[in-house]
């Protein structure tokens, strides 16, 4: 039966590969083995979560978004405000931030359903900029350009205090990343995920075989927004502040770059891209603090001219 064959191939794709647990064990081992690197592990875990969330939208559903920072920023500010006014508990803050970002994502999803790539770019970018403006102008709530600083969160699980070396922070971020990653993995390998890819590859045909295109896109956009919100909340909770920077355009652009470096339509692409990008950024900005964006730009240009899918396969560079 072909039905069984198709099912088998779908199941095979979703099976846990042998290297996957190794990868995660390594990730969790780094803060113990190299305590001085815990802070950067934390940063990587946060942007990796953010990149995985964009991958759901961009890689799996084909929506080009330049404004994913909107959800990250909303999560960050929600976590900060929740800590300041309601409770310093990080877990509640995380859930509330995800909820807030999901609501915004649900509302915003209706704006990306129609139109061309250009329209979507503009609408997503516009949303992030609107939030940036709002955060800037309502300075009595958000602190304006100063941001919200000096937040003290209560210990994780009631036991582990956030320390300066970032050990607890890195484990907290890694744990949240792993949990949400598993959920995302489950989603993309489900029939739901398969319909998303169908929509990405050929929207008209997907519609013709009876896939509710709009409902699926709304759902995935909401889920991705919630994940981005979680990344934002982690950012605030592990750094203790939230500033306008979280909404900036370069955050969305960097994110897109990470995802593309790692490869779209592959969840580990976001994680790998985040690792490569952060290490590269760390290295370049220690070499040329002021002009590192030049090298980043050059890298992007070369990446596209050579071909995204070919950069990681040098042997294909000179073939037509």
């Amino acid at each position: 039966m072909t039905g069984n064959g198709a099912q088998a191939s779908l199941l095979r794709a979703s099976r846990v590969k042998k290297w996957e647990p190794v990868f995660w064990l390594l990730a969790f081992a780094v803060p113990v083995v190299m305590p001085s690197e815990a802070l950067i592990v934390n940063e990587i875990a946060i942007v990796a979560l953010f990149a995985v969330s964009l991958d759901l939208v961009l890689g799996y559903s084909g929506i080009v978004s330049l404004g994913h920072a909107a959800f990250f920023g909303l999560g960050a500010y929600t976590a900060a405000l929740f800590c300041k006014h309601v409770s310093p508990d990080p877990h509640m803050g995380l859930l509330v931030s995800m909820g807030a970002a999901a609501v915004l994502g649900f509302a915003a999803s209706f704006t990306v359903l129609r139109g061309s790539d250009l329209t979507r770019l503009m609408v997503t970018l516009g949303l992030a900029l609107i939030l940036l403006e709002l955060a800037n102008k309502f300075d009595d709530i958000t602190g304006g350009t100063d941001g919200i600083q000096g937040l003290v969160f209560s210990p994780v699980l009631g036991k582990f205090e956030f320390d300066l070396a970032g050990r607890v922070a890195s484990y907290y971020s890694l744990a949240v990343l792993l949990a949400l990653f598993i959920i995302a993995r489950r989603i993309v390998h489900s029939p739901f995920g398969a319909t998303l890819e169908a929509i990405r590859d050929n929207r008209l045909r997907a519609m013709a075989i009876g896939i509710p295109v709009h409902a699926r896109l709304i759902a995935v956009y909401t889920i991705a927004a919630a994940m981005a919100g979680a990344a934002g909340a982690l950012f605030t909770q592990t750094s203790g502040f939230s500033s306008l920077d979280v909404f900036e355009f370069h955050r969305s652009a960097d994110l897109m770059l990470m995802l593309v470096v790692g490869g779209t339509g592959w969840l580990y692409g976001g994680v790998v891209g985040a690792i490569v990008f952060k290490l590269l950024q760390d290295f370049l900005s220690s070499q040329t603090p002021q002009y590192w964006s030049f090298w980043l730009g050059l890298f992007l240009v070369v990446l596209v001219l050579v071909g995204r899918d070919r950069l990681l396969k040098p042997w294909t560079w000179f073939k037509r």
Binding site: G126, Q290, V304
Partner: protein, 291 residues
């Protein structure tokens, strides 16, 4: 109030000159070019540096800025942009963001990150006021000059597009590249010259606008969204669409910043999203062309 309207029109005309090249190239090649502002910045820096270091008069700098950026645009089109026309939009977005980052850092490196100040010639300084009370119309001479130059360029563009042989070739290529090529139009040359002129116009706009908009290395990032709004709202099939969109944007921005300074750019972005939700292809779409 009239003064605000006047300033808004001047601002809008300036935006139109800056963005019209983008509108045409986007419509023609279906290329999402976020690096258009970089060409405008080059034009602005050519003018400022020529005036500061070589003492060239302002009025002479404008054509130099136009030609210089046009040449740069032509070279960039031939070497960098052309291989990417048929690639997915994501590639084009990444590529042009890369170009923007490079241009920002390069200008920062060679010229410095401080805001450049343009010394206007005396005959452009000053201001004339007409009327009185609430209906006073205050016209800065420089803004008057901007409106005059931009209006001239617009008329010229419209004339070229609608009356000349090149214009009809261009329109044919926008409507359907393949058929146009089949009719013996050398589409590559049309693309190249259009891209060059579009970049040149951006350079001219940057030169004219550096006094109004401010000129520093982050210019392409700061105004990218404005150019894109003009194009997305105005549509890419004609130049009247972007013109009206630019005027609307200019007036809304100036008025918004004047009457409700707290909301500032918020109004513009909200307006843009509302318009795009209502008409995803832009306000003015010509029927019959290939999308």
């Amino acid at each position: 109030m009239l003064t605000i309207l006047f300033d808004g029109i001047a601002y809008g005309m300036l935006l139109f000159i800056l963005a019209v090249g983008l509108a045409v190239t986007m419509g023609l090649m279906n290329f999402i070019n976020l690096a258009h502002g970089a060409f405008a910045m080059v034009g602005g820096y050519i003018t400022v540096l020529l005036m500061q270091r070589a003492g060239v008069p302002f009025i002479v700098c404008l054509p130099i800025a136009f030609v210089g950026t046009a040449l740069l645009g032509a070279i960039a089109e031939r070497t960098l942009y052309r291989p990417l026309y048929r690639r997915p939009h994501l590639d084009q977005v990444l590529f042009s963001i890369g170009l923007v980052l490079m241009s920002v850092a390069a200008v920062d490196y060679f010229v410095g990150s401080t805001q450049q100040i343009l010394q206007l010639p005396d005959w452009l300084k000053g201001r004339t006021e007409i009327g009185e009370g609430a209906w006073t119309l205050g016209m800065g001479h420089y803004r008057l000059f901007i409106i005059a130059v931009c209006a001239l360029v617009t008329v010229l563009l419209q004339w070229v597009l609608s009356r000349t042989r090149f214009g009809s070739r261009l329109r044919a290529s926008v409507d359907d590249q393949r058929v146009a090529a089949g009719m013996g139009i050398n589409v590559n040359v049309v693309f190249l010259s259009t891209f060059a002129v579009g970049s040149g116009l951006a350079g001219l706009g940057g030169a004219l606008g550096s006094e109004v908009l401010g000129l520093d290395p982050t210019f392409p990032l700061k105004y990218m969204i404005y150019f894109l709004i003009v194009v997305a709202v105005g549509g890419t099939s004609s130049i009247t669409g972007p013109l009206l969109a630019a005027l609307l944007l200019g007036i809304a921005d100036v008025a918004g910043k004047y009457y409700i300074p707290k909301m500032g750019a918020f109004i513009v972005y909200t307006l843009m999203i509302a318009i795009l939700l209502w008409r995803p292809q832009g306000l003015f779409v010509r029927q019959g062309g290939k999308a």
